[in-house]
């Protein structure tokens, strides 16, 4: 099975500090991969390197066989940052429409997708509200809707559960599983281990800029991954 994302021997430095050390990782199609690790482990640096937002000194990253940071490598992917933010004078509908248009949607197709996705995320009553008036959770849902409307083959979510209440977290997990069922691939960067182990397929543990282990969540019984992760990171300190 050909990898969607292939990261080979990637190293990245900030001055003398090594943010990524010889990282190797593959994201296979129709899977949900969770990149986990403590603060400062290098998760965001890796995500930004894949998306072409940050450069790296050594190694290579390909997305669908195209080297990052070529714009073509981002043709079939969409990205949700940890704190979604857009121009506060945009309405919810305008924001989601902007994202849809950036991925080539227009007219009735665009409007129909906006209606469907916002209904799924429970923000259909907020369509005409300006972003400046939204709560943190509503803003995060708008960001998720903006990513989902792209219908990208692969989506990258940086801390997607941040700012969401338990009900919204459950709904988001269902939405992501539904998205995956459409033959899509999802890359999640998250701290909330209890949530991700319930619905992600694979994990990659990152610490001090290195991937220290990759594996399948199916090898763990309910709740046991959190303890395993803690021990693994402690031993790697």
């Amino acid at each position: 099975m050909e990898s969607i994302v292939k990261i080979s021997n990637v190293s990245k430095f900030y001055g003398g500090f090594c943010a990524l050390k010889n990282v190797n990782l593959e994201l296979k199609p129709n899977r949900i991969l969770a990149l986990v690790g403590p603060n400062g482990a290098g998760k965001t640096s890796l995500l930004k390197s894949i998306l072409g937002l940050a450069s790296f000194k050594e190694g290579s990253i390909t997305v669908n066989g195209i080297s990052s940071p070529a714009p073509e490598s981002r043709k079939s992917l969409a990205y949700l940052p940890e704190k979604f933010f857009f121009y506060d004078y945009y309405t919810v509908k305008g924001t989601i429409a902007f994202y849809g248009q950036m991925y080539g949607l227009s007219g009735s197709e665009l409007n129909s997708k906006i209606s469907t996705i916002t209904a799924e995320l429970g923000i259909d009553s907020l369509l005409e509200k300006k972003l400046s008036t939204l709560s943190k959770g509503q803003l995060q849902r708008t960001g998720i809707a903006s990513v989902l409307i792209s219908d990208a083959d692969t989506i990258f979510l940086d801390e997607p559960f941040s700012g969401l209440d338990p009900v919204a977290i459950k709904e988001l997990k269902d939405i992501l599983l539904n998205y995956k069922s459409k033959n899509k691939t999802i890359f999640i960067n998250s701290h909330i281990l209890g949530e991700i182990e319930k619905f992600c397929d694979e994990y990659a543990i990152m610490n001090h800029g290195e991937i220290i282990e990759t594996g399948e969540f199916s090898n763990f019984k309910d709740g046991s991954f959190e303890d395993y992760f803690y021990k693994k990171v402690k031993n790697n300190a």
């Binding site: 937002l53 073509e72 981002r74 121009y87 248009q101 991925y103």
Partner: protein
């Protein structure tokens, strides 16, 4: 995709407070001066006097527009990328399948077009209102030519301020642009007065610095001065051909510099 981003640039910059403020100021100036001239015409002045006062007011109005349109270009140029960088929205924008230079191009062209639209409206609508109220006839050829003279220098002004905004905050970018503009104006005056050969004689650090500013920065105020001299039939020693070549080179150079720096930027 780029047209969507261009529309986004317009929506963003049309809300620029400086643009709104100068727009309102323009309207206020046009209304106040028109009312004064009209009331003078109804009470004391004969038509000849009215034409004289109206012509003078029109001239001052154009001078003001040509003066502050450059400031506006610096203000909008210093904001257009900087606001995206500060709010981190730029991360989302360049994660779309567009290259960074396309993002820069769209933002620069969008900002430039907004400034041109403002310039066009101020210049022509203001001119027509004055003309209508005072009966002063505007020489349309000169009027249009003076406008066109400032079109591409404004793009250069946007590019220079965009470049500084990659390093400095908005206020410092604006102040730096004004400062650089002053130095360029001074050095250009020296070079055109003394000539290059005399500048190179007894070469000193200050002369070298002057030459760097003269050759590596666009001569925006010189173009503005040339536009005004055409409008008011005053003499000028502006070398149109060499200045045009210099302007084109500057636009390409500063576009390239922004592109190189922005491409290397960690977002």
């Amino acid at each position: 995709m780029l047209s969507v981003l261009m529309t986004n640039t317009f929506l963003k910059e049309i809300r620029n407070k400086s643009l709104i403020f100068l727009g309102l100021l323009n309207i206020a100036i046009v209304i106040v001066i028109s009312v004064i001239i009209k009331s003078l015409g109804e009470s004391t002045l004969a038509q000849d006097g009215l034409n004289f006062v109206g012509g003078g007011a029109l001239g001052i109005y154009f001078l003001c527009i040509n003066f502050w349109i450059v400031f506006l270009a610096y203000l909008i140029g210093s904001n257009t990328i900087a606001s995206d960088l500060n709010s981190k929205i730029v991360n989302q924008l360049v994660s779309f399948p567009i290259s960074r230079w396309q993002y820069i191009l769209v933002r620069a062209l969008g900002a430039w077009l907004i400034i041109l639209a403002f310039y066009f409206l101020s210049y022509f609508v203001g001119g027509l209102v004055f003309s209508g109220v005072t009966g002063v006839e505007v020489e349309m050829g000169k009027f249009v030519y003076a406008f066109l003279c400032n079109v591409f220098p404004l793009l250069a002004a946007v590019l220079v301020s965009m470049f500084f905004s990659l390093y400095l905050n908005r206020t410092f970018t604006f102040v730096t642009c004004i400062f650089v503009s002053f130095i360029v104006r001074t050095s250009t005056g020296f070079v055109s007065k003394m000539g290059l050969e005399r500048m190179l004689e007894d070469f000193s650090f200050l002369k070298g610095l002057g030459l760097v500013f003269h050759y590596l920065f666009p001569h925006i105020s010189s173009w503005s001065g040339y536009a005004n001299s055409n409008l008011f039939n005053s003499e000028t020693n502006f070398a149109l051909a060499s200045e045009s070549v210099h302007l084109v080179v500057m636009i390409l150079l500063w576009s390239l510099l922004i592109n190189i720096i922005f491409n290397r930027k960690e977002l």
